[in-house]
Symmetry: C2
Subunit: 223 residues, 2 copies
């Protein structure tokens, strides 16, 4: 059984990715970050999802990305946008996927795992540069030069099973896999119980996804 690291945020996408990796027969290790994100209930969701899928280990790494500032997701002085439309929105956390993949890479080296799963998506990606296929390819090339395993001829693979899917297709895939989306938190400003605002970009994308996929939106909203 091959081991894999799954980046698990507690959101809809990464829960779907974990279900997929598990179905593919990987021994799954979940990795989450406490990086000063506003919605701490996202982390509680990640823990619950990790338990449901019986991951072998779930590490939650404290990471002070808020020290750098610069994002509405970690800086309480910047408002969460509710109307979309920008090229790269203020919810972009600088270099987030680069940082998360790097820590996944470190853990993969220790576990001698050659597989990392990440729920990036280039379709409904809100304009984040680090969700594009060309970024993932460049990351994989770099990672294979960075590591002891790479030097010794092993090839690390970064799996992005959602990269070409719309939110509706992701939800349909997750429904097939039996993901309980009630356990997931997508909202940028969810409350302590994980209830969604219904107005931020992430909420709007999620609601649209359920609608387009032809499923009831089971998300719990604040009002």
């Amino acid at each position: 059984m091959k081991s894999a690291i799954i980046l698990l945020s507690g959101g809809l996408d990464s829960a779907t990715v974990l279900a997929f990796a598990k179905q593919q027969g990987f021994a799954c290790y979940a990795l989450s970050f406490d990086y000063g994100q506003r919605a701490q209930s996202e982390l509680a969701a990640a823990q619950q999802i990790g338990q449901v899928y019986q991951v072998i280990q779930h590490q939650i790494i404290p990471l002070s990305l808020d020290l750098f500032g610069g994002s509405a997701l970690t800086d309480k002085h910047i408002d969460i946008p509710v109307n979309g439309g920008e090229q790269i929105p203020v919810t972009y956390v600088p270099a987030r996927n680069t940082v998360f993949l790097s820590l996944a890479l470190a853990w993969a080296e220790v576990l001698k795992a050659q597989d990392i799963f990440i729920g990036v998506n280039a379709v409904d990606y809100s304009g984040y540069p680090d969700c594009r296929p060309e970024f993932i390819q460049a990351y994989q090339a770099m990672a294979n030069l960075a590591t002891k395993a790479g030097v010794e001829g092993e090839q690390l693979q970064i799996h992005t099973p959602l990269i070409a899917k719309t939110k509706a297709q992701i939800i349909a895939m997750g429904m097939d896999l039996g993901v309980d989306y009630l356990q997931t938190v997508s909202c940028y400003q969810a409350d302590a119980e994980g209830r969604a605002c219904g107005a931020c970009d992430s909420c709007r994308l999620r609601a649209l996804g359920f609608n387009e996929a032809g499923f009831d939106d089971i998300t719990l909203y604040q009002k």
Copy 2:
């Protein structure tokens, strides 16, 4: 005046890099990590060096790399080797430079800086894969696809002024720049006062460097 992030460990190499970046006219921001390294006096040295060079800001990011284990530098159950000779030694911290550069990249994005300095060295590099020029080139290519600045056409540059130098050449360069090496800690197992063991790979490389450069070894040793 252009801003640059300098990865500053408190060791001889990164102190030399900071002096070099300052001399090149960069507005310097220092970045260090408290990653469970055994030699905590290294961090005290980093702080002192940052003050000497009047960096604009010095961030010390807590980072629990020791949660992953796998290195003699962060795992107290693995002995520090004193006889060298291995291909990739147990002092290798998995994906360390990848992780450090990724956090530097995050801060660079926030500061709108296009320059990151890192004191990697491919000559006396103890066999670490993430110190080689091909790794740095791949990292830079990835970083330019990862970021908002990259998407908008800016080019990030990773400066590695020491990459092709021997330890003796680095020390000669630092002496020219006026670096006070008494303030630096290179030892993998320095004591609380920053005094070196004199036996680990890092101590041996440093002592040899002073000798070959024709300078007295001013390092404080434990005995």
